[in-house]
Subunit: 234 residues, 2 copies
Amino acid sequence: MTHGSTLHEVLIVVFQVRRFPDTHGGTKTELGVLLWQRALDPQAGTWSLPGGRLHDDEDLTTSARRQLAEKVDVREVAHLEQLSVFSDPHRVPGPRTIASTYLGLVPISSDPRLPEDTAWHPVSDLPAMSFDHGIMVENARTRLAAKLSYTNIAFGLAPAEFAMSTLREIYCAALGYQVDATNLQRVLKRRDVLTPTGTTAPSGRAGGRPPALFRFTESRLRVTDEFAALRPPG
Amino acid sequence: MTHGSTLHEVLIVVFQVRRFPDTHGGTKTELGVLLWQRALDPQAGTWSLPGGRLHDDEDLTTSARRQLAEKVDVREVAHLEQLSVFSDPHRVPGPRTIASTYLGLVPISSDPRLPEDTAWHPVSDLPAMSFDHGIMVENARTRLAAKLSYTNIAFGLAPAEFAMSTLREIYCAALGYQVDATNLQRVLKRRDVLTPTGTTAPSGRAGGRPPALFRFTESRLRVTDEFAALRPPG
DNA sequence: GCAAAAGTGTTTCTTGTACACCCATGA
DNA sequence: TCATGGGTGTACAAGAAACACTTTTGC
C-alpha cells in the first residue's frame, strides 16, 4: 500500500523577455512564459507548462531538455536549472504524480517557431492556468528576480552581444521595475560579469551616439555576490 | 518502457552545532550531521542519511517528518526545507530511485536520544558515505552557509534564548570561519532578526559580566537581505 | 545647431568591518 | 583590584543609488 503507482513529471517554466501588445494598442516589453493550451480534459482550455513524464533511463535535466524539444528548438534554451518539487498527492486528478519544476531561459534575440497550441504569455497577465502551474510560474519568477541580483544569470536572457540599453530593458522586464543603466553597468563591470567587445553598434533611427557592445564573460551560472553580510575575514 | 517502477525516497540532511572530540584530546564546536550506519548490503558499513520511501498518501515534507521520527524526536527539528533532487537512473543499485533531499536543523541546546546505529558526525570529517549521500551533505552545507548570510535561518540552530556569545559560536561552527560578535549583533539587530528578552544570564564560572539574552523575532524562515544590488527604487 | 542616445564623473547614503575603549561580575 | 567576559562607540572602506554633465551620432 505504500508505493503503488507514483508517476514523475518534469515541468519547465521557460522565460523570455518579449514585446507584448499593450492595453492602448501599443506594445510593452515584458517577461513572457511559454505555455500550451490543453485540448482535452481534465481542465480542457486551461494553459499548462511544457513538460511530461520522466523516462526510466533519463535524469531530470535530460528529461527537461527532451520535453522542451517538443515545443521549441532546444538550442535556444541558454540556461536550465532545477527549482522545487510539487508533491501533494492530489495536485492532479488521476494517478499520483510528482512534479519537478525547472527554470529555462531563452535569449531576447531569438524567436523560435512554436506548435499551434503553444504561445508566450506575459507573466503579469497569465491566462487560466492548469492545476498548480500558476504557482510554479510565480515561484520561478521570484527565483529569477533574486538571482538577477547576485548571479550572472542574465546571460540566459541576453543576446550574444548587446548594448547596455538592451541589457537594461531585459533587467527592467524581468524585475518589473526601473533599473538605471549607468549603475547596472558599474555593478556588472565591478563583478567582472561583462566584457567589452571593443566594437560598437550603429546608432538608432533617431540618431544618438553609437553604443558600445558587451558580452557576458561567462555563459554558465556563477554567483557574483556570495555574502551580503558575514563575509569571511580578510 | 518509459515508466516502469520508479521509486521515490526522501533523504534529510539534519544539522546541529555540537562539541566533538579534538585531535589533541580536547573538544571543538562544529557543525554535525545525523547519519546511520548500514548493517546490510549494498554498501554495508557505510553511513547514510536518514530517510526512506515516500508513501502514496503523503507529500514530501510530511514524509520527511515521518522518516525523521524514526531517528530523533521530531519536535527537536526546528526547521525543515526542500533542497534539490538527485535523479541519476543509476545513483543506487536495484530499482530506479529518485531522491528528494531536505535540510533539517536541530537547536544546539537539545541532545535527542538516538538509535544504536545512528550518530552525529562532524561535517569536516565525514565517514565513508553511502552512494551519493556525501554530495548531498556538501550541498546542504553550502545552502545553510549562504542562508545564514541573508535570512534568519539561524533560529533553527539556536536555543530559545541565548547570549550573543552563544550565537557567535553557532555562526562560527556553521560557517567554518570566525565571526565578530559585535558586528553580528549589529547586523542582526538592524535587520530586526533578534529581540532582546530584557533578562540576563548569570555570568560564567570565571566571572565576567552577565550577558543579555536574546531570542529570534520570528521562528519561520524569512529573507532579511533580499537584494544586495539592483534594489527597487525608492 | 539641435535632438537623441550613450557614457562619465561626482555626491551621498547605507552597510559592513575593525578595533579601541568602557562596563559588570566573581574570586 | 584584577582577570574575564560583555557591551558600546568611533573610524574606515566598499558598494550602490541618484543625478548632473559631457560625448557622439543623425538630421
